[in-house]
Symmetry: none
Subunit: 232 residues, 2 copies
DNA sequence: CTTTTTTATGAGGGATTTATAAACGCGAGT
DNA sequence: ACTCGCGTTTATAAATCCCTCATAAAAAAG
């Protein structure tokens, strides 16, 4: 079994920073593993090879640059340096040692995410890889276009997938009929509510969902539909 | 093959900055060409394709982001944004629009050079990184342009090879018709879906692949194609 | 309780998408 | 000039999906 979920290794000795990064990255759909020291980082890297490494330069045991060197000796995985040091020589040294980017602390979560996307995009070759959506026992791998419900793979048509994707992306919120229709069918079909009923019915059939006691898609009479997110 | 010298295009309306950059880059051995506006930048890009673009966001005619968009619609050349704006949203927007790096003015010449090296390294690295691609019982030797399926050598034409290469490089993911056409045929044939059908048919014939029960190339109706990666 | 609105679901026709063969134009090489 | 391979176009049958319609159940309103 291989999902296209992207794994990121954080190597930083400050637990607070690791926490902050983990939360920021997991909400983006990334899988996060941590290491509090250079040696642990290298060991983690060997055991669970990540697609990207976030590396702090100030580590207790090994120097961050040494860790980078070791990584580069065995892999060309993208490495982004996170550091408090604003020294230009430091940046140049790290970048020339093989780092793909150098972000000075403090940094915003949004900028870091965008830089991660940029680095991954450059490395994978142009196509930005999208994360895996999860909602209860439902997983949606957008780039693979694969859906599993309660462990079982479910084959969906294009429109079915679009509806499920839209609902899951806004899990918990009620999406009005007209909003869904406007988004997926276009403004001219905003009032063709029947379209939706048919497709939601097909979706529920494929997901083994009972409209009377919905596990996934719930109906809000007169308003629209919503994806249930019982305890994410 | 192009000349060994690496060409960099600077797009910035301030002559002073262009001068500063030109001096800094030429001492590093780069060939430098300049443009003072967005339109001139795009025209220069078309006439003398550079290996890297340094782009200022604040241009007199076109918006910098529009220039980036135009560049991205026809090339995946590395683009680094130079900007006085430190706004985080601005950075995120530029990076997500396809920029490879975002450097805030004022910056040091040494750091800029190092970042340029890092971006170029990452860009060149990913092409030379995998000399032979493997996916199931399919092997693709990129430099030799040789393909074997289930042990047997398969002779492919240029376009057939490009399609198979692109699909295999993103094995598992669904690549949309328009993405494949845009990448291999160019933006103007983005909607000529029939091209693809013919070539995918030829590929499947040469690979002995049955469209009804595909072993290699699977169709996602209404979306695109994907290479199957059963248990890598 | 009756009426009206909203929802669920099955089934089939029509339109779109796909697979495949085959013809055409073009340049490279013989 | 001829052939051959390749990329492009056209044509057509088959497969698939989207939409429509009909009907029944459920919910809301009167």
């Amino acid at each position: 079994m291989k999902s296209s979920q992207i794994r990121i290794l954080i190597v930083d000795d400050e637990a607070q920073i690791r926490r902050f990064l983990r939360i920021a990255l997991e909400t983006q759909g990334y899988e996060v593993i941590e290491a509090a020291s250079g040696r642990e980082g290298l060991s983690q890297f060997a055991q669970h090879p990540p697609q990207l490494v976030l590396l702090d330069l100030g580590l207790p045991d090994l120097d961050g640059k040494q860790v980078l060197k070791d990584l580069r000796s065995r892999s060309n995985v993208p490495v982004m340096i996170l550091s408090v040091r604003e020294d230009e020589d430091e940046k140049v040294a790290a970048l020339d040692a093989g780092a793909n980017d150098y972000v000075a602390k403090p940094f915003g979560a949004a900028e870091l995410s965008a830089r991660i996307r940029a680095v991954l995009r450059a490395h994978n070759g142009h196509q930005a890889s999208q994360p895996v959506l999860r909602c209860g026992d439902l997983t949606i791998d957008v780039s693979r276009r694969e859906v599993t419900a309660a462990g079982k793979a479910v084959k969906l048509s294009k429109k079915e997938f679009e509806i499920l994707h839209l609902l899951t992306h806004n899990a918990g919120r009620v999406l009005t009929h007209s909003y869904i229709l406007h988004t997926l069918w276009g403004p001219e079909h905003e009032h063709d509510t029947q379209y939706l009923r048919v497709y939601v019915g097909q979706l529920r059939a494929k997901l083994n969902d009972d409209p009377a006691k919905p596990h996934y898609i719930a109906n809000e009479p007169g308003v629209g539909y919503r994806m249930l997110d019982h305890a994410v």
